[in-house]
Structure formats: structure tokens, C-alpha cells
């Protein structure tokens, strides 16, 4: 596979104006004060063609800044950045011919016209062949079930429908690389499911490379191959999602529902963490191999009505990493 994104020691610094508390006219004549904010610090990332990568991080971690640098909207302060072998700022127009972008909080559709009108405009902008245009519209409307709604004014659509139309617009010209910046903010579970289904289809049919940022971590685990976790402008770690899940699922959470409201503490001499709740005993960080032994010990000690064994989900794993950094 070839590298589609090559970033080395990338930094971005913003100047932010500081609040001036001086009184009215005095404030007018005083020099403005600025503070530097380092949104990204020496970030190095490589992404292969065809990969689906999730960018994860708290608000202000630098995810959106990284996307804007990759799309050539922002200019870097330091470091090297190559998208499809080109500097994205210098070759913005050329790169954008092969890039699709959705910013969850901004629209590229004309609100007063129908989605179809905006798609026709994009056809002209990207010089899309008639047959490609028709087949893509057919495919997208089939996946989303939007054959009729595509012809009504965008402002009359629901939030979920609008986002689905934004995705159609981003994938219409069969781009090599697509950036989705928080595309599911405020959407219901059905809309999220439809979007995940659409992205998986695009991965198979268009062989697109996808960079996705979202706060919905389960969505990333459903759609992406790899996760890059950003924290305070740095890469905290990057890992294949399946590997991450299998490592963390070596440890389980075992929950016992008991007959009695409270039970005497059980001495086990193990590294588990235990919590006693009314009618419940919860063991965390139980190794897979020790689950059997634990169940035998607890059932010998008290009357157990039910047992559940849970693995860590992707959200828990990431939360644990980020919590450690706070």
C-alpha cells in the first residue's frame, strides 16, 4: 500500500487575543495583547491508501486543526505535511479535486435549493462524468432511502437527512480521500447507523481512504481500522482497533447478583478490584483465566442468583487512557 498522508513533526500555533479589562476609551488606545496557543505539537502520522482512521480526543485536543491542515485550509507553523504527495496549502485546488470533506457544523449545500441542485453544482465543479454522477446518486439514495427527499429544499430536511445529503456531496466525485469532522453530532441512533452503513459501503465500493473524527467512540470502532488518540496537541497513541480491543478484553468485569442485600467480604488474595452494592458484588480487572475460579469461590461463599461477564468496550478503553492524562 502507498502512503496517502505523510505528516512529520507538524506544529500549529494560533494567536489568541486576550481580554482587556481597561475602561472604554482607555481600552481603545491600548495595544492589543495576544497569547499563543499551540494547537498541535510535533505530530507525526502516516496513513496508507484505503485505510479508515478514527481521530479521537477531547474537545480542544487538536483533531479539527489537524483536519484543516490536511485539507490546506490552515497553514502550518512548523513541520512537513504531504497529502497525496503534495503540500496541501500550496496545491489546495489540485488536491481538492480528489478530496471530499464534511464539517459537521458547516454545510456545503444551498439551504434554499434542493440537494439535487447542489449536487448538480458539484458535478460541474468536479467535472463528474454523466454515468458516474447517475450511478452514484442511485447508489447513495438507495442506501439512505432518500429518492424523494433529495428533491426538496435542504432547509426542510431533518438534521439526520441533512447530514446524509452532506455525505452524498462529499462522496459524489469518487474522492481518494475523505475527511469527516464530527458528522454525527446531534443525530439519533438510526441516522448514526445509516451513516455507518454508508461508510462501510464506500470503503468496499470506492476504496476511499477515510479520516473520521467523532466523540462517538463506538462509531469509530464499527467503521475504522485504526485509532489515533490526540491529547493536548500531541499523539497519545495510535493502534489498530481490533488489537486494542483484544488486549483490553483480556480483563473482564464480573457482576454477581446475590440473594441477600449484603454479604460478608470475601478474601481472595487476587489483584481484582471489588465493589459491594445492595444485592450486587462487582469485580473489575479479572483476568480471563481466573474467571472460572472467581465464580466458584463466590458461589461457595454466598447464594448467587445471576452472573454476568463483561468485556471492556472501546469507549471504556479510550476513557481509561484519557482519564490517566487529565
Amino acid at each position: 500500500m502507498n502512503k496517502i498522508i505523510n505528516i512529520e513533526n507538524l506544529s500549529k500555533t494560533y494567536k489568541v487575543r486576550e481580554r482587556n479589562d481597561a475602561f472604554l476609551l482607555k481600552r481603545f488606545f491600548q495595544k492589543k495583547k495576544y497569547r499563543e496557543v499551540r494547537a498541535l505539537k510535533d505530530v507525526t502520522v502516516n496513513i496508507e491508501s484505503g485505510e479508515f482512521v478514527g481521530l479521537i480526543g477531547n474537545n480542544g485536543a487538536g483533531k479539527s486543526t489537524l483536519i484543516k491542515l490536511m485539507t490546506g485550509i490552515l497553514y502550518r507553523t512548523q513541520g512537513k505535511i504531504e497529502i497525496m504527495g503534495r503540500d496541501p496549502f500550496k496545491h489546495r485546488k489540485k488536491n481538492n479535486q480528489e478530496i471530499g470533506v464534511v464539517f459537521g457544523q458547516r454545510t456545503q449545500l444551498n439551504w434554499d435549493l434542493s440537494t439535487m441542485d447542489s449536487l448538480h453544482l458539484l458535478k460541474a465543479i468536479y467535472d463528474i462524468d454523466d454515468t458516474v454522477f447517475k450511478s452514484n446518486i442511485e447508489l447513495f439514495t438507495d442506501i439512505f432511502g432518500m429518492q424523494k427527499t433529495i428533491k426538496q429544499p435542504v432547509r426542510t430536511l431533518s438534521l439526520g437527512q441533512k447530514m446524509q445529503c452532506e455525505l452524498m456531496a462529499a462522496f459524489l466525485h469518487n474522492p481518494k480521500l475523505v475527511f469527516l469532522d464530527e458528522p454525527t453530532v446531534g443525530l439519533d441512533m438510526f441516522s448514526k447507523e445509516a451513516i455507518a452503513k454508508f461508510l462501510i459501503e464506500m470503503k468496499e465500493k470506492q476504496k476511499t481512504t477515510l479520516i473520521l473524527t467523532t466523540h462517538d467512540l463506538e462509531e469509530i470502532s464499527k467503521v475504522c481500522d485504526r485509532a489515533i488518540v490526540l491529547h493536548d496537541g500531541n499523539i497519545l497513541f495510535e493502534e489498530n482497533i481490533q488489537t486494542l480491543l483484544s488486549i483490553h478484553n483480556q480483563q473482564k468485569r464480573v457482576v454477581f447478583t446475590t440473594e441477600n442485600e449484603s454479604v460478608d467480604p470475601i478474601e481472595l488474595n487476587k489483584d481484582f478490584t471489588v465493589t459491594y452494592q445492595p444485592f450486587k458484588i462487582i469485580y473489575n480487572k479479572v483476568k480471563k483465566a481466573e474467571v472460572h475460579e472467581l465464580i466458584a469461590e463466590v458461589t461457595n461463599h454466598c447464594y448467587v442468583k445471576d452472573v454476568s461477564i463483561e468485556g471492556s468496550n472501546f469507549t471504556d478503553i479510550i476513557k481509561e487512557y484519557l482519564r490517566g492524562k487529565r
Binding site: K93, N96, I99, Q105, Q108, D112, L121, A124, I125, Y126
Partner: protein, 269 residues
């Protein structure tokens, strides 16, 4: 090369049409714009009637000539791209510029097609109704083919000049973020130098000499005078100044726009 030209022209024509359609979506607003412009031009006409009183000629203009001049000036005013700096400024202020910069079409071309779409809309729903007032207040002028062709040449040149002037003002938003002050200053400057409120021949002689070396008289005064087949001294010198200014402004725009784009900071997420 041919393919790029074809792609850009297809986009351009479609965006002109879609801009017109977007404005036409709001039918009530269209009707109100129509009425508002009739009222504004009527206010100007009654004001000048009052100023003339019993006099037949003021500053070389009969009342009917001046009323015709005012109507044509108001039609032209609606047909120039004066809103483009505001549109550009708002895109920068609210961060939507990001989605525009992400398209492989120059932002200037997109704004130009939008300006033409809006001009066509404004001419249909503001300009044409105002022209209907001509027979009521003034004499219908005798246009010749030559005067109409020359008028068109002057109008297109002035349109290009104002468009570049507007996008320079718009691009300043990358620096100031808010365009409110700059926009107001620009409007006052244009109104004063172009003779938008008072025909230039009413200005003091000393100021007129200064205005002769600026291209602003080519916005209203000269195109209308040429359309009405009036003899204008030094018209072709001003035409040369106009085109020299266009080249100069284009140079300024090209040299500052890339530097200004580097200043962009799209707020929030």
C-alpha cells in the same frame, strides 16, 4: 486546458442560475424589494423637483434630464456588485470560508458568478420597474446603437473595477475579522466619489479636477452621459485611468490574497 475551460464555464453558468433561483425562492421578499425600490426612486424624484422649484435649468440640466439621470443612476446602482465585500466578509467571520476553500474552483470565480446572478435578479426586480417610471417623470431618450454599445462597454468595465475593489475590501476581513467599519467607510467613499447622491457636475470645480484623475466617475456619471449621447470631455482618458486602476487593483489583490488566507483561523471545532 479546453476541459478546464469547459468545466469552469459550466460551473459559472450554473452558479449564476442557481444564485438567481435562490433569491427568487423568497417571493414575498422579491415583491417587497420591487416596492421598496419604487419608493426610494420616487423620494429622489420628488426631492429634486423640490430643489428645482421654478427654475428650468440647474447646472446645465433641465429638470426632466436630471430626473432621467437619477432614475438611470438608481438602476445602475442596483446592477453593480456592491454586496460582494459583505458576502466575502461574512464567509470569513462565520467560518464558512472553509467549505468554499475546499472546492477546486477559485473563490473569486465563485463570487463573480454569484455577483452576476444577483445583478440579473436585481435588474429584473428592481431595475426594470424603476425604468417604468421614466415616461411618467422624464422624456424617453433617443438611444443610438453606438451609444448603447458604448454604454455597455463602460458598464462592464465599471463592473469589473467595482468587483475587484469589493473583493479587496472583502479579503481585508482575514485581517480584521469584522467588516462593519471597513464596509461603512467603503460605502461612503463610493457614494462620494461616484456622485451617487449628487451628480458630479454639482461638485465644486476644485474637487472635479481631483475626480478627473480617479476612475470613480466611470461608475455612474460617464456611462449615463454616454447613453444619453452627451458630450463628455476627456472620456477616453478616464476610460484609460479606469483600466489602469483595474490592472493595479488586480495586482494588489493577487499580492495580498494568499498572504491573507494564511491568517485564517476557522473558529470552533
Amino acid at each position: 486546458m479546453m476541459r478546464t475551460i469547459k468545466r469552469i464555464s459550466q460551473f459559472f453558468i450554473l452558479n449564476v442560475r442557481l444564485t438567481f433561483d435562490t433569491l427568487f425562492t423568497y417571493k414575498a421578499a422579491t415583491i417587497l424589494t420591487f416596492c421598496t425600490n419604487i419608493f426610494i426612486v420616487l423620494i429622489y424624484l420628488f426631492l429634486w423637483k423640490g430643489i428645482y422649484g421654478e427654475q428650468t435649468i440647474v447646472n446645465g440640466y433641465t429638470l426632466k434630464e436630471l430626473l432621467l439621470f437619477i432614475i438611470l443612476l438608481r438602476v445602475l446602482r442596483r446592477s453593480y456588485p456592491f454586496h460582494i465585500s459583505k458576502t466575502y466578509g461574512q464567509l470569513i467571520k462565520n467560518g464558512s470560508i472553509a467549505t468554499w476553500l475546499l472546492k477546486p474552483i477559485p473563490i473569486e470565480l465563485r463570487l463573480l458568478s454569484q455577483a452576476i446572478g444577483q445583478t440579473i435578479y436585481q435588474f429584473c426586480f428592481s431595475g426594470l420597474p424603476m425604468l417604468l417610471l421614466v415616461p411618467l417623470f422624464a422624456n424617453i431618450p433617443n438611444f443610438t446603437f453606438v451609444s448603447a454599445a458604448l454604454f455597455l462597454l463602460w458598464y462592464i468595465s465599471a463592473f469589473i473595477f467595482l468587483y475587484i475593489f469589493e473583493i479587496i475590501i472583502g479579503v481585508i476581513s482575514y485581517y480584521t475579522t469584522s467588516l462593519w467599519g471597513v464596509g461603512n467607510f467603503k460605502s461612503a467613499l463610493i457614494a462620494f466619489f461616484t456622485g451617487e447622491l449628487l451628480p458630479l457636475s454639482f461638485y465644486p470645480v476644485a474637487l472635479l479636477g481631483f475626480l478627473e484623475v480617479l476612475p470613480f466617475s466611470a461608475v455612474y456619471y460617464l456611462p449615463i452621459s454616454i447613453l444619453l449621447s452627451k458630450v463628455v470631455e476627456n472620456a477616453w482618458i478616464i476610460f484609460s485611468i479606469l483600466w489602469l486602476s483595474i490592472i493595479l487593483l488586480l495586482g494588489v489583490y493577487l499580492s495580498i490574497s494568499q498572504k491573507m488566507i494564511k491568517r485564517i483561523s476557522v473558529q470552533g471545532g
